[in-house]
Symmetry: C2
Subunit: 162 residues, 2 copies
């Protein structure tokens, strides 16, 4: 097979701005995990938002399969960016972030600030945010790929998402 | 930790009908794969449709990271079902399917029928469906989970999706 040119470009200011706006506009995302039962990929929809420090945060139920998966294998990936009503779905921008999950303990002194900030952007979550089986989970980005449509892919660093 | 009741119910006719309608209405999905570089989860947006026999099908570019991932690790998971504009995003139904990927060779005698059927539901794909670096990939379901909103989860078999 002949060598191909790398189809992924280095991030520029436009790519960084688009990635940040996708995160700022996201209330949910798709999450890829490793299924602890057999090591194969699993996928779920999660709530997504930023922590007060700009980091990525989710709120998960202990009843959800990805709760056990993230406990067993913190390496995960999230995708965000909605598909609009028109055109080829693959031309709509989306951001894929490889990340590492870390659970926030119920008595973590940082939790109250995370909780209050979360409820600004996820007001419906006040119905369950304080249930004992819900936990905040930080998703610390390791790398990211922005796909702005066909042949418009960019590699981003964690700093680019800030 | 005390034993919890299983939060996932067996499929009923309503769950089967919802799962099938989500598939029938889907033109794209989120795909979870195993990244061949390091074995961690990867995630991508893919085009999705049914094959003429009702099975799940996608069309992928060899330039997409999930192409190499599926070649190396055919076990994957797809999620479909859009989030509506209103309410908590986690109350909108979505279907998660664990599947096994198999690539359709360019000279596979089945390809012309797959291609023609695909273009009915993905008309914009006629711009690239015949490019040499695009391949159809069957995603054969192994099991599925339907989440119809909080506390409304159902386990489905491959037959339930047909």
């Amino acid at each position: 097979m002949p060598t191909r040119p790398d189809p992924v470009a280095a991030a520029d200011d436009e790519a960084r701005a688009l990635a940040r706006s996708l995160i700022d506009g996201a209330t949910h995302a798709a999450l890829a995990v490793t299924d602890p039962a057999d090591g194969t990929p699993g996928i779920s929809r999660i709530a997504l938002g930023r922590a007060p420090d700009g980091g990525l945060l989710t709120l998960v139920s202990a009843l959800a399969p990805h709760h056990a998966a993230l406990k067993a294998h913190p390496a995960c990936a999230v995708m965000l960016g909605e598909v609009g009503a028109k055109g080829d779905p693959l031309t709509h921008p989306r951001l894929m972030v490889k990340a590492r999950a870390s659970f926030i303990a119920p008595d973590d002194p940082a939790r109250p600030a995370l909780r209050d900030h979360w409820l600004i952007h996820h007001p419906k979550a006040k119905l369950y945010v304080d249930f004992g089986d819900f936990a905040f989970v930080r998703l610390t980005p390791l790398s990211a790929l922005l796909n702005g449509g066909f042949a418009r892919a960019f590699r981003l660093s964690p700093e680019d998402l800030g």
